[in-house]
């Protein structure tokens, strides 16, 4: 399988790390999501006029070409890749918000509430401005017809988890960017999904806020043992957070390579391991860029 190949290529110390991390391997040996041979194109059938003009004479514009990913329960996966390479598309397909042209996504999540495969946290702007913080977090519970007092309780618990109890009556426009993303996280957690899908959730935040949220997210991952799929532009972010970093390629329209990181969090970007990984990822991205350029 392609996955194991790239694991060995990417990380020479793998064997050694495996010994240290035995128990987490037991948890993660059960796949929770399997993406199999997913293909996706946008073309004339899609209603977006931008894709039409971009694809020119070609009938359609292929974004994903035979993507295979196996995600194990409790894993924190980060995906990096150039802009426009199809990361959001992949996440939408995994969430069930979009359908692949062919291939399939199977999930073995036994989500209490949802028939969806995971709850998305978007870059920004996905909170409902007509609802307060409390009501935003309660939204999915209300849709699931959970009685008022119960959903208040559940929502309050998650609002507390992200430290916004004092602001539960605020409306979205009264919050800072970081607070908004915390609300989005609380809203996702309130659905009690097994999988969190995060599409560049911290991209619009300043460095300081971002670092605080890394810490919180790592804490949430540790305590709730959620499976997290985290898309980002930021290599440092991918290295600090992921158990595995998937590098996505615009040229291949697929996962180009993956790197396993068996280091405890919080991690130090200055550490030789991460430094080396970062170098390797940059080489991959650079290679991808050249491959795309040479096709033109």
């Amino acid at each position: 399988m392609a996955l194991t190949d790239s694991q060995y290529e990417g990380y020479q110390e793998k064997e050694h790390e495996q010994d240290l991390d035995n128990d987490s391997d037991i948890i993660s040996s059960t796949p929770i999501v399997q993406v199999k041979q997913v293909f996706k194109s946008f073309g004339y059938n899609s209603n977006s006029s931008s894709s039409r003009s971009r694809s020119g004479s070609k009938p359609s514009h292929e974004v994903l070409s035979g993507v295979d990913i196996t995600i194990n329960r409790g894993e924190f996966i980060t995906i990096v890749g150039p802009s426009g390479c199809g990361k959001s598309t992949l996440l939408n397909i995994i969430a069930g918000l979009d359908k692949p042209d062919s291939g399939d996504v199977s999930a073995r999540a036994n989500d209490g509430l949802s028939t969806v495969r995971g709850i998305m946290i978007f870059q920004e702007g996905a909170l409902f401005p007509w609802l307060s913080v409390q009501e935003n977090v309660e939204f999915g519970l209300k849709i699931a017809n959970i009685p008022k007092h119960e959903r208040t309780k559940i929502a309050s618990r998650y609002i507390e988890l992200v430290g916004l109890t004092k602001f539960s009556r605020y409306f979205v426009h009264q919050l800072s960017g970081g607070m908004k993303q915390r609300v989005a996280i609380a809203r996702a957690l309130a659905m009690e999904p097994e999988i969190l899908l995060m599409d560049e959730p911290f991209a619009a935040l300043d460095v300081h806020t971002r670092e605080m949220l890394y810490e919180e997210l790592v804490g949430i991952h540790k305590t709730t043992n959620k499976t997290i799929l985290f898309v980002t532009h930021n290599i440092n972010e991918a290295l600090l957070l992921g158990d595995r970093v998937l590098v996505m390629s615009a040229a291949l329209r697929n996962i180009r390579k993956e790197f396993a990181i068996d280091l405890a969090r919080p991690r130090d970007l200055e550490s030789p391991e991460l430094y080396e990984l970062k170098r390797q990822i940059l080489v991959e991205l650079e290679g991808d860029l050249q491959q795309v350029a040479s096709r033109r």
Binding site: S114, F122, F128, P129, R169
Partner: protein, 282 residues
């Protein structure tokens, strides 16, 4: 919002943010209005006192007030107001129901939406008074004839604003909601409608003013026995300028009342909640 307690929460929240601005604006407004009215009446009286215009054709504030008193006493003004308001509410309600339903259908069926929207935009600029002869011949000199004109004047505005308000809702709200299992009716009630509300209110306010203009016009031309427009044309026939001005003032006040008290309030409330008021003069 669904449950009662949600409502309560809303009003508490909105109240908290509203009151500080709300009150100061209200007192200021009241003072300004009184001042303006005094100036207006003073100027009016001045023009009358200078006898610039013939007395019979230019009524004084006092004679106009007397005329209002007379119209109130013989009941015609009250009946006129009630009749006109009934027509307004009924016509506008029909417009909202039909315009809203067609607007939704336009969103749902894209091809229909495209054709219908250019058609409706054309009718939006069509002078509503031009429907009158058509309505008289088709329906006759009765309430329904008037209602027809009112509906034609406002229904396309409701239609277009429903259509564009919903189409302009950022798709990310739908994505997020669908991801939380909202579909069908729940998506419609809890996402589509609230997300479209700020621009929907603007459109509905405009539709209301179209309906109001058309109604008075139609009442003047499609003669029935009641209504403010009717009293206005009776005033013209009897060359009773006092009565004409009295009714004009009534019409002005009703328009102002609806627009300020109902629509502006609604708009302000929504805008405050959404935080759309941040940069307006506060």
């Amino acid at each position: 919002m669904l449950a009662e307690d949600d409502h309560r929460q809303d009003s508490i929240q909105a109240g908290r943010t509203d009151t500080q601005h709300g009150r100061s604006i209200d007192t200021n407004d009241a003072a300004n209005i009184v001042l303006f009215l005094a100036a207006f009446l003073g100027l009016w009286q001045l023009v009358v006192a200078l006898h610039i215009l013939p007395d019979t054709l230019f009524p004084s504030p006092a004679s106009t007030a007397a005329s209002i008193g007379k119209l109130v006493a013989n009941g015609s003004l009250v009946i006129g107001i009630l009749t006109t308001l009934w027509r307004l509410v009924a016509g506008f309600a029909i417009s909202i129901v039909i315009g809203g339903a067609v607007g939704l259908a336009m969103v749902k069926f894209r091809a229909f939406g495209k054709t219908m929207s250019s058609f409706a935009v054309g009718l939006l600029t069509f002078p509503s008074i031009a429907w009158v002869p058509f309505s008289i011949l088709l329906i006759g000199f009765n309430d329904f004839g008037i209602l027809f004109v009112v509906v034609m004047a406002s229904v396309f505005s409701v239609m277009i604003s429903t259509y564009s308000a919903i189409r302009n809702v950022p798709p990310i709200y739908f994505l997020a909601a669908r991801n939380m299992n909202a579909k069908g009716m729940a998506l419609f009630r809890h996402v589509m409608i609230p997300a479209a509300t700020p621009s929907l209110i603007v459109g509905i306010r405009q539709a209301w003013s179209f309906a109001w203009h058309a109604l008075i016009g139609a009442e003047m031309l499609i003669t029935t026995l009641y209504g403010l427009g009717h009293i206005l044309s009776v005033g013209r026939e009897f060359i009773d300028m006092n009565q004409i001005v009295a009714v004009m003032i009534t019409i002005f006040c009703i328009g102002l009342l609806f627009d300020r008290i109902i629509f502006l309030r609604m708009e302000e409330k929504v805008r405050t909640k959404w935080g759309l008021n941040q940069h307006s003069g506060e």
